[in-house]
Subunit: 278 residues, 2 copies
């Protein structure tokens, strides 16, 4: 039986509840974050906690426990559940709001699930994606609102596509759950900086990539993206995955790019190093 | 003790729960509707149920009970709670999704709360509002996502304003929880038709107003709105309330308009008539 932490205690998964008056259920109001464990070790935990507390702060949600207490309960959950390769989600809801519209003290949920990382076959095949004009409500915040991302799934399935990239006024931003990068001119790595979530994997790429090629933030149009040498997405769940087709247009030669592969190798090494730090 | 209906039974309010794996908590994914009772009679119920089932359908949420069963449980809740003047909220969440991202069979919640309609003083004072560029994710759907509306509350409180009107590319759309109308040229009633929720009170105005003055749907710019003779909002909770100031600009003479008052009187009469139909 898997456990879920809610506010101040651990509950069996099917007995982990939130009351129906919570602002997350009433108004979709809440924030979360998601990190992974390998061999029961949470990777880059401090980066994710930074973002989680920042999201809550930007959305005026009070987190009723300290960062130290949150960490303590994350490690307790890891021990209790023993799912060595996992994803852990921490959520702060808008709380039990008396007027059903104003955020109050949040309810805290920590959930864990088995996480299978994409296979080498998945990497080699690359992703075929669509684009869609949309911007998340407060792009710098990791809110729980994924209405558009979830809603678009049906269309993607019907077209047998892997994901959808958002853009706004012709400038690309992010995937519903991932960031985007492009390699251009054979030697430059670019990623959007406006209206995007500051992904932790994205941040790591920014730390490692300059050793390999010049890396910068830029406004990238849909057309510029489609004529890139290489395009890839970064996310906690999927690490780095090449994008080989956008709106039916092949990227480069339609195969995963060399720099994408190199960055993937460097990123996996960084994960291994992080694991050894415990 | 107040009761809440969840899926197939009635629970005391503080024992009405949803499991933490629900897609509403995970991804803010759910739909709802909200109607009121007067003297324990639900007003314009069929209109609200039409919209509720339509919202669920548009968001691929399966409602596990029939319309007849839903109505039966609404009437049971009204009887059990006995809150004659109330608001009733029906919610269909995205459900307990195995992958945490795909909508499945929804969880159904029916909640009731005391509802105090705005006083005559509130009507006479009118509303002072701001404007904000934003569009809800799927505007024709009454989803649970109110992140922007809730988030803007703090700014409104600081500026001592009553509400915020959304616009998109300079064309006005709706309030977070209400529709907007304007009277122009002394004799024409206009309301936006694009990117708005089809409000039930708005629908009633469309039924009654043509007896009073020509009524139509139109694209209305921010400037046109600010130079209107009268502006008012319509909603289930607030019925009809005059807007007397927008972004610091006085509307008309800064007092509730004559046509607004007349429509209010006609609408309250329609509610009384609806009550007598039971």
């Amino acid at each position: 039986m898997k456990y879920v932490f809610v506010n101040d205690d651990f509950f069996e998964e099917n007995k982990a509840f939130i009351r129906t008056s919570d602002l997350a259920l009433q108004r979709g109001y809440g924030v979360f974050d998601f990190f992974k464990t390998r061999n029961n070790k949470p990777l880059f935990l401090e980066d994710y906690l930074d973002r989680f507390f920042n999201s809550a702060n930007e959305m005026f949600i009070t987190i009723p426990i300290s960062r130290a207490q949150l960490k303590e309960n994350i490690f307790k959950l890891i021990e209790k559940n023993n799912i060595p390769e996992s994803g852990i989600r921490i959520t702060a809801t808008g709380g039990y709001s008396p007027d059903g519209y104003s955020p109050v003290q949040g309810n805290i949920i920590i959930q864990q699930q088995l996480l299978v990382q994409p296979s080498q076959e998945k990497f080699d095949a690359g992703l075929r994606i669509a684009t869609h004009e949309y911007m998340r409500d407060l792009p710098s915040v990791k809110s729980i609102n994924y209405i558009m991302g979830v809603w678009l799934q049906k269309q993607l399935r019907e077209k047998q596509l892997d994901d959808v990239l958002y853009f706004k006024n012709n400038i690309i931003t992010e995937f519903p759950r991932s960031n985007v990068f492009m390699v251009t001119g054979g030697t430059k790595l670019l990623t959007p900086g406006k209206n995007v979530l500051a992904g932790v994997t994205r941040k790591k790429i920014f730390a490692f990539a300059p050793g390999l090629l010049p890396t910068s933030i830029a406004d990238i149009s849909l057309n510029e993206l489609k004529s890139a040498d290489e395009v890839f997405m970064t996310s906690t769940t999927r690490r780095i995955l090449p994008v080989v087709e956008i709106d039916g247009v092949k990227i480069g030669n339609g195969k995963p790019g060399k720099i994408t592969g190199e960055l993937y190798r460097i990123f996996v090494e960084a994960e291994e190093k992080e694991m050894r730090m415990y």
